[in-house]
Symmetry: C2
Subunit: 248 residues, 2 copies
DNA sequence: CGTCCTCTTTAACATAAGCTAATGCCGGCA
DNA sequence: TGCCGGCATTAGCTTATGTTAAAGAGGACG
């Protein structure tokens, strides 16, 4: 029965990440997987999972697929504030704030697990290590957001896009979603522009530049990074950034 | 004996904020205050409290004074990633990540309380409400960071600076640090530039513009906002933003 | 009372990035 | 097969913001 095998079945990505954050006992892992299987759900591409202002009464874990968090100004300007990748958490402890300060939309079809507040609290109370892993996840997310602030505030377009690509690659790696030096990049250029604070036109120009230098190949929603270190260099990717993401 | 009076003495700002996040019982408040008084420390202006890469083995609460979090790129470009104001925490649960991903530097003289890891964990274990308030604090900080991403990514210089001023004002208010429509703003223009992702020169231009429209007066490190609603309007300050900061 | 220092302000010029609009490309679908 | 709609790409022009440099302004201090 796969879903309880060693690979973690559909919950694999989540289990891998949490285990990297805090070594989970068999029992912790089983409890988490169980809670996941209880609340399995799916969403199509381009669906709003939750919107700014909505009440939050559950925590969601992404099993597969891409989503993004975003905020929109009154006049329509939109900023993608982060991507949510397989194995990551949608609302970790944001649920403490009772309402969402941003929206979450799916990019691709998504499989996720929804754990209701009461169930979640029970799980945390029973498994200290899981609770710690969850807090770690939140802290990590916070560190990513800080780096995005630096990216938007102090990096030029070229570095900025390069940095985003390095980051995505490094975040997909520990959950087994990179294949050699390639990974999926299922977003439109408009999305990339909204994530990097650029206009679509300028984002496109920047992409051309990145291609011209031979640092990346981007085709058919697949990103290929010939020389990751070179790209990181060009991006001024901080050496220690996302270290905690790597599986030891 | 002031320090145990109803005003909370030196721990006042922290107690007020935490109490707003989760209503604290007398006992919770006393325990928190006690922990604070145990670990009282001071730092001068312009001091590095902790630097990127340093190990984290305690949580610090700011009792008075301003600090900022910042990251610097190899070539010296610096981004201030947030300000830390009285009543706020320095590292809430970042201590779970064991090393700092950014640096913290004081702006003014600062009084703070340092709670060592073991002591902190003991406190959290004994007082569920305090633990929740701490998590709330982290979540709130995360929401602020997301808004900063929007600010840097999608707002023009004028709105961006206006937004920062509104935010600071709203964050100082609940801890009693605004006086009518004025508050302290003890940072240099270089700092403001590094916080808004602008060059000093352009920041200065923007400040002139803000003054010219009569939206703000900034003189002697004091910010005066004639019409907060007008400023928020100009800044596209989201209506619900920082709602959780307000004392009910 | 002058000198140094840090911070602010201004000017003149350079450029990265935005905007508008047209064109190309491709896959879905009638 | 041919039209439509969403994306990607390119061109041409505009503008916000960066850069360099120099000059005030005020406080600390010998």
């Amino acid at each position: 029965m796969r879903s309880h095998g060693t690979d973690g079945g559909i919950a694999q990505a989540v289990l891998r990440r949490f285990n990297a954050l805090r070594p989970l006992s068999e029992e912790d892992a089983a409890a988490l997987e169980h809670a996941i299987l209880e609340g399995l759900l799916r969403a199509g591409p381009g669906e709003d999972l939750i919107a700014e202002g909505d009440p939050v009464d559950s925590v969601r874990l992404v099993l597969s697929g891409w989503l993004y968090r975003h905020k929109t100004l009154e006049d329509g300007r939109r900023q993608i504030v982060n991507f949510i990748l397989p194995g990551e958490t949608c609302d970790a402890h944001a649920y403490l704030l009772s309402t969402m300060d941003h929206s979450i939309t799916t990019v691709t079809p998504v499989a996720y697990a929804e754990i209701k507040r009461a169930r979640f609290e029970q799980l945390m109370a029973a498994h200290r290590t899981l609770a710690e892993a969850f807090m770690c996840e939140t802290a990590l997310n916070s560190a990513i957001q800080r780096e995005w602030i630096v990216n938007l505030g102090r990096r030029a377009a070229f570095e900025r896009v390069a940095h985003l690509f390095c980051e995505i690659f490094e975040r997909l790696r520990p959950v087994g979603l990179v294949d050699g030096n390639s990974c999926a990049l299922p977003v439109t250029q408009t999305d990339l522009a909204d994530a990097t604070g650029l206009s679509v036109v300028h984002l496109n120009r920047t992409l051309q530049e990145l291609r011209a230098t031979g640092l990346i190949i981007l085709k058919d929603r697949t990103l290929t990074i010939g020389d990751l270190d070179a790209l990181k260099n060009a991006a001024m990717f901080p050496p220690g950034y996302l270290r905690r993401y790597q599986v030891k």
